[in-house]
């Protein structure tokens, strides 16, 4: 960008998003890595196509986690401080399977998120929204024998992030997931249904396939609420080590 150019507006970013989406109607299920509307990706995406390889034995296995690694209390993000965090208390739960529907059992799930005001308890987050002394926003859990995970947390707020002028991230929870083997390792973000910021967000929109986008949306589920205490969302995860298109060309 020339030195004196005005900052990008939401309108210009949205126009870039629309033009890339039109060119990728039949793209794969994953994000494009070369996605200029997300400005930080410009110098950080590979330009060569990925090389196809037959995985070796070590890559068809993955790290093992167990009771030594995770404390059961790590899954309750509202119980890490003396007081209750501010915000909408909620349960987030779902089942993790592989592409054939087999449960991913006993595997590690890690989450991190902003607080209800949209502020991370991280030294580099300069958004002038309040920190919550009762909320750090980080949790861990192991899936059970049938692939289920369950966290108790509060609903994160949206926040501005300076990708362009007045850029706002939709509310999201970061998820780090291990599959049955090393090739299925995924880090992603869970979003909330109906969030008006989703169409404007270059990170969410880097997935040109709308069915792929839908797979990142949780569903409100009254059946997983804790009555008179918390709301509840369900989000199921499928780990396949997806193949993808990396570049726009």
């Amino acid at each position: 960008m020339p030195e004196n150019a005005p900052p990008d507006t939401q309108e210009s970013i949205s126009a870039e998003i629309a033009s890339i989406a039109a060119a990728h109607e039949k793209a794969g299920p994953g994000p494009l890595l070369d996605y200029p509307p997300y400005r930080s990706s410009i110098l950080r995406h590979p330009t060569f196509a990925p090389v196809q390889v037959d995985p070796e034995e070590v890559e068809l296995a993955g790290p093992v986690f167990g009771a030594r690694d995770v404390d059961p209390t790590d899954a309750d993000l509202t119980a890490q401080h003396p007081g209750e965090p501010v915000g909408e208390r909620m349960v987030v739960t779902g089942r993790i399977t592989d592409g054939a529907g087999r449960p991913v059992a006993g595997q590690l799930v890690e989450v991190w998120q902003a607080n209800a005001a949209g502020r991370y308890a991280h030294g580099r987050d300069r958004h002038p929204a309040p920190l919550d002394p009762n909320f750090t926003g980080t949790g861990r859990s192991l899936t059970d024998a049938d692939g289920w995970y369950r966290f108790v947390t509060i609903k994160p707020g949206p926040y501005p992030w300076r990708n362009h002028l007045n850029a706002w991230r939709p509310a999201h929870i970061h998820f780090s997931l291990f599959g049955r083997d090393f090739t299925e390792r995924v880090v992603t973000q869970m979003y909330f249904p109906g969030d008006p910021l989703l169409p404007l967000d270059p990170i969410f929109q880097s997935i040109p396939d709308t069915a792929g986008q839908q797979r990142l949306l949780a569903t409100y589920d009254h059946g997983v609420t804790r009555p008179e205490w918390s709301t509840g969302y369900r989000w199921d995860i499928v780990l396949t080590g997806p193949r993808r298109t990396w570049t726009q060309s």
Binding site: P29, V53, H174
Partner: protein, 185 residues
């Protein structure tokens, strides 16, 4: 063969993964200085050669005997159990470092390697690659992946030996771009 159910897409790890993912002992698969310990380290660099200070690397490897490790305890290391897995964030200079053991070959004559996963702010999904050990030229020459690559691309997957281990840079973009991998369908 295609998977019957499409997978959940990835998204960038973002700038604030430091809240949750790095942990004490993450880069130390074995205690530094212990018997057989080596240092595996390098930088993560972007398309103009600038260091990437907000990347996260995960290492997964066989033991020195070439066998796949099936031991829990990576997040809460006891100092004695080799779990085969570790995690290291880059520092302000884009530098990362693991203390680990040399992996053995997965089958007789195979070229030993470390499997590596790369995450970073600005990287919309994780990248996978391999770090091959440089010593056994005959096994490197026979490796199905390496032998199919042009020489300059192949060189991006082979570590450089140092007195105490190996150095390996992850180059996300450009002339020296690391070869990144996807599993064949």
């Amino acid at each position: 063969m295609t998977d019957p159910t499409p997978g959940t897409p990835g998204q960038t790890v973002g700038p604030f993964f430091g809240l949750s993912l790095p942990y004490a002992g993450g880069p130390e698969l074995v205690p530094p200085g212990s018997a057989g310990a080596i240092r595996l380290h390098g930088q993560v660099l972007d398309g103009v050669g600038e260091p990437v200070p907000d990347a996260l690397l995960e290492l997964w490897q066989a033991g020195p005997d070439g066998a796949v490790v099936r031991e829990p305890g990576s997040l809460n290391r006891d100092g004695w159990t080799f779990t085969g897995w570790g995690r290291a964030a880059t520092d302000n200079a884009g530098h990362w470092s693991f203390s680990t053991l040399r992996p053995g070959p997965g089958r007789p004559g195979a070229a030993p390697f470390f499997a590596l996963t790369v995450f970073a702010r600005g990287l919309l999904d994780r990248l996978r690659t391999r770090i091959y050990l440089p010593e056994s030229e005959s096994s490197l020459a026979a490796d199905p992946l390496l032998s199919a690559l042009p020489a300059e691309r192949r060189a991006t997957l082979v570590a450089t030996a140092e007195p105490d281990g190996y150095v390996f840079d992850v180059v996300l973009q450009g002339d020296r771009e690391t070869v990144f991998l996807e599993s064949r369908p």
